[in-house]
Structure formats: structure tokens, C-alpha cells
Point group: C2
């Protein structure tokens, strides 16, 4: 394993010092920011997440704030998701596409007011894209990165821990909705969301100086809940079928290929960017799509570049994320699979770095009967 | 030191396999791409670079291609540098600024034709910014990331090595100019440029399949020149006063603060983005500016967040990059220093993570008489 060379450019967060004091073995870099990936081992981190409660430094989920008279018009222009009936303080998963229909990001948008949005981004500079659109199109908006640093609380005991720190109202937060809850004299947006399938919350900390205060409060309140630090876990997120922008889909993919057709409204009617390409793609239907693959054999190595998938010698797609799942007793992976081969149960071959392996197409999320 | 967790999202390059086979100890992530930072030790890598010749995988310097009838107009809109007389195949350092005058990137632009540019970017998604501007402003251009993977050849023996692989014409390439030179039946853009002060070239490889062929050709031809792999070296680049976007300047800084006033034309006349803010900044003159600081004491730790600089108890600026320089026998650093304290020779205090240190302001690049 190679070391990560630190510098200011790989931004720390209000939680970095606490996280490192508590112990972190591995990072990735996400939106120019450190994201913890490994605390103990992938397996131990996953098991703990499924049983207890974890505190995750996901400040790398940077916010792009769009504020002003043209804010709603600009946000709607950026996505094929129909935000016409969007409610205040609700979270909307909004694929962003360019003029070719290719995905530029898959953020969550929060409508804070009729003229004010946060876009909670995956790993690409949506700030620059939105600035470009606003400057180029003469939109009457401000586009900036507010000082928001998300701390996630994930795992089955999340409700109990959050209720102790933010009050019983925390339990009332509905899925992909938010409430403004009190902490240290401030109100913070708290959403029921997060990059795991174990349930939990994301706290939109709005004062970096309170980062370690919030961290300490969660750990003090959660000692008997076996709380510990964590981060997005490769095993759990692949088992759960949570896609990662830059890994499982890129600018080369439409939202339909990523399985996000359900989030796409009538692009032609919305006149969003890329509506011609999206309308065409919707009419034709995707020719390849995200699927799960169970890969046979011993634990696979890390997937650092796409692994070719074939069926009867024909190109059938590529694996983009893969890992050993102790709970399912097999390698689980996420792949982009061509239409001719995407039926669950289809047998394929995967060209892993250490050799050819048999694999079976299945639906996502993985389950005992997934194939 | 923490490990870096690999994934497809941290893109490898056509050189990654060769680089790792030859040995690489540390990476950073730059434009969603792996950038080697450590081969042997910072000191040994630096000494070798100053004496011999190194091959650097800097494919992370991604290109943004802007092509079409409005290409020149769009590129000029993005920068206060006057490109009115830009020559074909010449390299231009072009600060990019937003509507506030803050820097979004500090790339090198190459004018390939009247209607075709490459922008060789620092670490932010200029692709998305340019797409946003083009879509928003209705420019008649294509904006995309071409398959260009730069391999740099740096160090005092660079001319000899390049002449052996690309022919004697390589010696004729002038500083910040490029020539199209033959390699394996293709013509590749070769510029005299690179992120060191030891001289050298950047080869714009235009066929990823030739990555290892080019790597092997350079190593085969350079055995007696003591060629080895390398990467941007923290010691050498600070000694040389080479700034790093995201480290030494950010969106919070104007080009004038970064010392790039010489690259800024008459913004009002050019009507570039941010021209009002830039015109005001130029008239007022910068209130803080990039300087060197010699920091006393033992070798400083890695600068992961800005270190406060004070003078007589007053705020005087911040250190953003720092390291021990064996050649100068002191810690060298790059800092943003307030006007009242920026005169070379000024004594200041630096709040390093391990305690307060004395320091002296100096000009860049560092030299024996820098203070």
C-alpha cells in the first residue's frame, strides 16, 4: 500500500484531529478533502457498522449554495429531476448531466427556501460548473461553498444516539427529510440520510469551531452504545448497492445506465441541460445498466481500474467496484453490464488482475436470493 | 502516515504500472488522478533531480480541450491574461478567476490552432467550469478531456535524454514553447516546461497504449545518465518558489496576491470574467502577497493546514507549504504575507504545530542571499 502525502490542498476538516487521535488507518481524497476509509479493517468496520453506531467525518460532501432570485431556475436547469413540487427541507437526489447526457455528479439537493439551495456533492467540482452556468447564462444568483461540514451518524443505534444529543425530535426526522435541531445554541440541519443501508443521519454542522464539540458530545453520549468512528465502508456499500460517482458511473454514463431513470422527469418538458440527449436516451432505453455481480473464488484484490466482463467471448461489460463479503461468503461487485447479458442469473467471466473468474449477474442490493 | 485507499475514482495513468514496478512510496491525488510524490526520500529524490534526469508521471495534469468557432473568445473570457497575440504551439500561464477575482486554477494554455486550445490544468475541475460557461453563454465550442497523458522529463540531463528518444530537434524546443516530435510513428507535442527549476520537458502523450513504450524508451536510453522515476519534489519546488494551487493560493486569492500581476493584462479592456474585481484590485494594489519564509529550528512537520504568522503580536499572514532544505540548511516555506510585513528581512513568528518559531521574510526563489 502506498502512503498518502499530506498537504493543505488535501483539506482537513473540523473533525480531522479528533479522528486521527481516535485512530484512522486509511484515507481517500474526495472533493479535495480527506475522507476516512479504514479504521480497523474493512471487515471489522463493516461488522461494527451493522451492529452499533458510527460517527463519520464526511465533511468532504461539500455544499454548493445557490442563492438568489434565479436559484430555482438554475438548479432545475442542471438536472432532469422535476423539482417543480420540491418541498422545503426535503432532500432530492438529483443527477447532473452535461449537454451530452453524461453524468457530471449525483448530488443531493436541499431546498432551504424558495430562493436558496444546498447541493451536497459527490466528487467533482460542481461549484465551478454552477459558477460557469451562472456567469455564462447571466443568472441572478450567488454561487459559493458555505462553511458546512457534515458529520454522519450511521448504524442501527443511530436514533438512540441522536436523541441523546439533539433531543427526542431527532427520531421524528423522516427519510430524506431534514429538521433544524438545536446544538450548543445553534440550529443545525439534520437529515435522515447517509451513505450506508444501516440507517442514520447527516448533521450539517454550520460552525467549524463546534466540530470537536459535536464529536465529543456524540462519543460521550454513546459510550454504552459502543459508538466509534467510521467512514463509508466498501463492503457494506457494495452489498447495499450504493453507487459511487467516479467509480461505478462517470461522464460516460447517462442516468438511465446508472439506474436513475426513476429520478428523471420529462427532460424535454423541463428543458434541462442535455434534454435532447436524455430524451433520445429515454426513448431508446439504456443499452447497458448497473448490475451486481457475484464473483467466484478467493477474495478479489482492490478494483483500481475497470475489469473486463465477457460472456461466451463477447464483451459484456465491466466491473468497477469489488470486494469480499464475509456475510454473503462471496465476492460482491458492482458492474456496468450490456443489455444482452444483464438478466439476473446470467453467467459471465471477469478478468480480475489475478486471473479469469466465473461470475453471475444479480440485482442490487445483494441479498441471499440476489441471483 | 495514513495509507491511501485505492479505487477506480483515483484514476491510474498509462504509466502507473511501470511506476509501481519501479517503486513508488507515496502518492497524492490531483485532478482525481494519482500523482507520485515519494520515490526514495524527499531529500534523496531532490538531490537526484538536481544532478541527473527523472521521468515523472504527471498525467494528472489533465487537458481541457476547447475547440470550435468560439474557442478563442471563450478562453480569453476565462483569463485576464491578454491572449490577443498568442502564437501557435506556445504555452501561456493563464490564471483563471471567477466573478469575485478569486483564482479558480492556474493552468497553462496551449494554442494549437486559431480555433483549438488545450488548457493543462492544476487541481480543480476546469472541465466543468468551461462546460458551464459554454453552455450558459451559448458558445459554439466543444469542451472535453482529450486522451492526453503528460510524462515529464526533468533535471539537468533532460536535453541529452530527450535528444536520444525524440531526436536532436528536442534540443531546439524553446522555453514554454512546443514542437511536434515523432515517436513510434506518431507526432507528439513536446514542450520545454515542467514543475521544477532544473530544466526539462513535458511530453503530451496522445496514445495511452504507448505509455509503457515511452516509459521504457526513456529508461533504456538513459541508463548511463542515471535516469530514474520521480515526481514534483516538495523541497525543490519550495526552494524554487513554484506555487501550488490549493496549497499556496486558493479561490480566496487574486492573481495579484499570488504574484501573477505580470500575467494580467488590462482586465477592463479584455472584459474577462471578474474584470470589475480585478480592475479594482489592480488599482488598489494587493494588500498581501506570496513571499518566502526561512523558518528557524529543526525540520518542520508537514504543513497540512495554514500556520499563522505574526509580527509583534499582529496578524502577519500564513504559511501554506514548508519543508527542510538540506542545501540551504534551513526550513524553507511559502507564505501569504500582509503588506505591513512583506519587506524581505522582516522578522516574524510562525505558529508551527510543534510550537512557535522565529522566521524571516525573503524573496522567491530561495537563494543563499534570499533574505
Amino acid at each position: 500500500m502506498a502512503q498518502l502525502s499530506f498537504s493543505r490542498r488535501l483539506r482537513g476538516t473540523p473533525y480531522t484531529q479528533r479522528l486521527e487521535a481516535a485512530g484512522v488507518k486509511g484515507y481517500t481524497v474526495y472533493n479535495h478533502t480527506l475522507l476516512p476509509t479504514l479504521i480497523d479493517s474493512l471487515e471489522a468496520d463493516c461488522t461494527h457498522l451493522k451492529q452499533h453506531v458510527q460517527v463519520w467525518d464526511v465533511a468532504c460532501e461539500r455544499q454548493v449554495e445557490i442563492k438568489g432570485p434565479d436559484a430555482a431556475r438554475l438548479v432545475q436547469w442542471m438536472t432532469p429531476r422535476d423539482l417543480g413540487k420540491a418541498a422545503i427541507d426535503q432532500c432530492y437526489y438529483i443527477p447532473l448531466v452535461d449537454e451530452t447526457g453524461g453524468m457530471l455528479n449525483d448530488p443531493v439537493a436541499i431546498k432551504l427556501a424558495e430562493d436558496r439551495f444546498w447541493i451536497s456533492i459527490a466528487d467533482s467540482d460542481v461549484l465551478l460548473y454552477a459558477k460557469g452556468l451562472a456567469i455564462g447564462g447571466g443568472f441572478n444568483v450567488e454561487v459559493f461553498e458555505p462553511e458546512i461540514d457534515i458529520l454522519a451518524v450511521q448504524g442501527p443505534k443511530s436514533d438512540d444516539l441522536m436523541a441523546r444529543v439533539f433531543g427526542e425530535d431527532a427520531r421524528k426526522v423522516r427519510f430524506f427529510r431534514g429538521l433544524w435541531l438545536p446544538f450548543e445554541g445553534r440550529e443545525m440541519f439534520v437529515a435522515r440520510s447517509g451513505y450506508s443501508k444501516q440507517g442514520g443521519f447527516e448533521i450539517y454542522l454550520n460552525d467549524p469551531a463546534l466540530g470537536s464539540v459535536l464529536w465529543d458530545a456524540l462519543f460521550a453520549a454513546g459510550a454504552d452504545l459502543n459508538v466509534r468512528q467510521g467512514g463509508p465502508n466498501l463492503i457494506e456499500r457494495i452489498e447495499g448497492g450504493l453507487l459511487s460517482y467516479g467509480n461505478d458511473m462517470t461522464r460516460d454514463n447517462t442516468p438511465y445506465e446508472a439506474g436513475f431513470g426513476k429520478f428523471c422527469g420529462d427532460a424535454a418538458k423541463l428543458q434541462c441541460i442535455g434534454h435532447e440527449a436524455l430524451t433520445r436516451a429515454a426513448a431508446e432505453g439504456p443499452q447497458r445498466m448497473i448490475r451486481g455481480l457475484k464473483i467466484s473464488g478467493e477474495a478479489v484484490p482492490v478494483c483500481r481500474r475497470p475489469w473486463s466482463v465477457t460472456a461466451g467471448g463477447d464483451h459484456a461489460g465491466q466491473v468497477t467496484s469489488a470486494t469480499w463479503s464475509p456475510d454473503f461468503g462471496t465476492n460482491v461487485s458492482i458492474a456496468m453490464i450490456e443489455k444482452a447479458h444483464w438478466t439476473p442469473g446470467t453467467a459471465v467471466k471477469v478478468e480480475a488482475p489475478d486471473g479469469m473468474r466465473d461470475a453471475v449477474v444479480c440485482t442490487l442490493p445483494f441479498g441471499p436470493d440476489a441471483a
